[in-house]
Amino acid sequence: MKILLVEDEPALREIIRKFLEKEHYIVESAATFNDALIKVEDYDYDCILLDIMLPDGNGLAVLKHLKTLHKHENVIIISAKDSLDDRVAGLELGADDYLPKPFHLAELNARIKSVFRRSRMNGELFIEAGNIRINPDSHEVLVNGKSIELNRKEYDILHYFVTRRGDLVDKNTLAEAVWGDYIDQVDSFDFIYAQVKNLRKKLTEAAASVEIKAVYGFGYKFIINEL
């Protein structure tokens, strides 16, 4: 998997590159608009991470250029400018996702995977983990081909874990992803434990081959057990 990282901030570029390489991607990076243009013209990538605020041009122009070249690379916009206009403009120009800075690297990884999955499966959006199969459109969860009943929060938690398998999941980040931005002012996370406990129980009852492991003081880790 080859990824082009267009980011002008050296420290950020370096850390994202290091992280992606750890995740076994091949990473090329470009620091300027012109650099990025030359790279997309000369090479093919599986995914482009595009910062739209570049010193010598707007990243959105790279998107336009890709279109004129008739290339269909997956593009995820990473931007410090979390404005609705840019988001809409980016997605209209053919970007696949929009990730406002600052973001968690695990989140970036999940988005990259999701983009790949979508392009690979030609719109078929089943996510599989062990013997679990999730349909994100209908919110249906099948274990061994048998449907299990989850409430909305349980489904959201499972979906979050499945798209971040193997990663350490911080309980704050999980709470924010499932309950929204306002969760930061909540002092106790007891309600997460309760929801995760219920989810675990349902998964165990259905004999799912996955495990939500608690990491003391930090959060969780989603592990797929070999059958």
Partner: protein
């Protein structure tokens, strides 16, 4: 009070005092002059009589049609020694011819004839009635005063309005001035240098205010924007650190805590960015939003969180409130109010939401004292020492309300903290 009224009243009072003083002085001067003239003629008269008396000529008859009268009486030496030889006085005397008493000027002269006999001559002449004079003077002063006043008021108002027109135009312009809007051009040509100076100064200050407001806004916006990248680097470096398998559990926990603190900075920064976006009116798209549905969906999202602290939530719907506003902003507004009601609540507390077609009231239990309404909507005002409170939630609410023309108000009723959001023209 309008300036023109104040000037008129002050002018009237000054005029009243001036006219009163003028009347009094006028009266005394006239009386003095009349007395002086009368005394002169009495003196001549008395001299003539004394001359005749001493010469032994016949004295003029009393009542010769001149209203003047005289007496001569002989007096003792003691009397002469006791009284001054020439005395003027004002008296009322009975005039036989007219058969009435009248005020008169009287002159007493003591003289001695060739045989050293002492006599006192009293001559008198009726004078004007001073009471009449006083009344007349007063009457005319009052009449003149009123007339003068009317004339002055009319002239004053006319001159005032003509000369102060630039001031009123300036005031009107200032009325419509706001630091967050491009001001309308100030068309206020005038030849008066003071007004020209005032115009220039006001314009200069208005421009400076706008600039300062812009700078402040830009600063907050830029600062929080510039913070994004370094924050992202910190966050991501810490995240990378987590993947290091050689870390002990204690170290992992430490990192987790640092990440949480960092998350709070990121949140704070995002909130400041959002605030500056609201103030820059970067949420122009409006759509129909049902507040009822929005409220219920947020309450639903929060269900587990409320349950974890045994806080009961009730929603009472007396009507549906549909607004034409930016959906993101309305969500932030309602979300922040609900979060506020939750965060500052106690365990086993209640949140009561009542909604009708124009008003939402969110009432929650909490601390027993009412909050200071003037302060709670200010940025970074914190009533409690809660670590997790950013002090920006209600500031954001206030900012959204201000920019969308929504009225928000806080009150304390039945031991509950109530926030009332009242819609007006944006309610569909």
């Amino acid at each position: 009070m309008k300036l023109v009224y104040r000037i008129t009243i002050r002018l009237s009072i000054a005029l009243l005092m001036l006219m009163a003083a003028w009347g009094a002085i006028f009266y005394f001067v006239i009386i003095e002059e009349i007395n002086d003239e009368t005394d002169d003629s009495l003196e001549d008269y008395s001299e003539a009589i004394i001359m005749r008396a001493l010469a032994g000529e016949s004295l003029p008859s009393n009542g010769n049609g001149s209203n003047n009268s005289y007496y001569i009486k002989s007096i003792s030496a003691e009397y002469a020694a006791q009284n001054s030889h020439i005395r003027y006085s004002d008296e009322t005397v009975y005039i036989e011819v007219k058969r009435e008493t009248e005020p008169a000027r009287v002159l007493n002269t003591i003289f001695r004839d060739g045989d050293s006999n002492l006599f006192e001559l009293t001559v008198m002449t009726p004078t004007i009635e001073k009471q009449d004079l006083k009344e007349t003077v007063l009457y005319w002063i009052v009449a003149l005063y009123i007339l003068l006043l009317l004339v002055i008021i009319v002239i004053n108002v006319w001159i005032f309005h003509r000369s102060f027109r630039p001031l009123y135009r300036l005031l009107q312009w200032l009325d419509g001035f706001s630091v967050n809007r491009e001001p309308a051009p100030l068309n206020n040509e005038t030849k008066v240098s003071e007004f020209r100076q005032l115009n220039d100064t006001v314009l200069k200050n208005a421009k400076r205010n706008i600039e300062m407001y812009e700078q402040q806004k830009d600063f907050i916006g830029n600062a929080s924007h510039e913070l994004q990248t370094p924050l992202a680097i910190c966050q991501n470096k810490l995240e990378m650190l987590l993947y290091d398998d050689s870390l002990t559990e204690t170290q992992l926990n430490e990192i987790s805590e640092i990440r949480q603190t960092l998350n709070r900075i990121v949140k704070l920064n995002k909130t400041l960015l959002l605030l500056s976006k609201i103030e820059n009116e970067q949420f122009p798209d409006k759509e129909r939003v049902s507040i009822n549905q929005l409220l219920k969906s947020i309450v639903d999202d929060y269900a587990e969180i409320y349950a974890s602290r045994s806080i009961s939530v009730s929603v009472e719907e007396a009507g549906e409130m549909i607004v034409l506003l930016n959906k993101t902003l309305v969500s932030v507004l309602i979300g922040n109010l609900l979060k506020n009601a939750y965060v500052h609540n106690f365990d086993d507390g209640t949140i009561e939401i009542s909604i009708n077609s124009t008003t939402i009231v969110i009432a929650n239990t909490g601390q027993e004292q009412p909050l200071d309404e003037d302060k709670i909507f200010k940025r970074f005002y914190r009533n409690s020492q809660r670590e997790s409170s950013s002090g920006l939630g209600l500031a954001m609410v206030a900012s959204i309300c201000k920019n969308s023309g929504i009225a928000i108000r806080y009150f304390f009723r039945n031991d509950k903290h109530c926030f009332e959001v009242r819609g007006s023209d944006f309610v569909v």
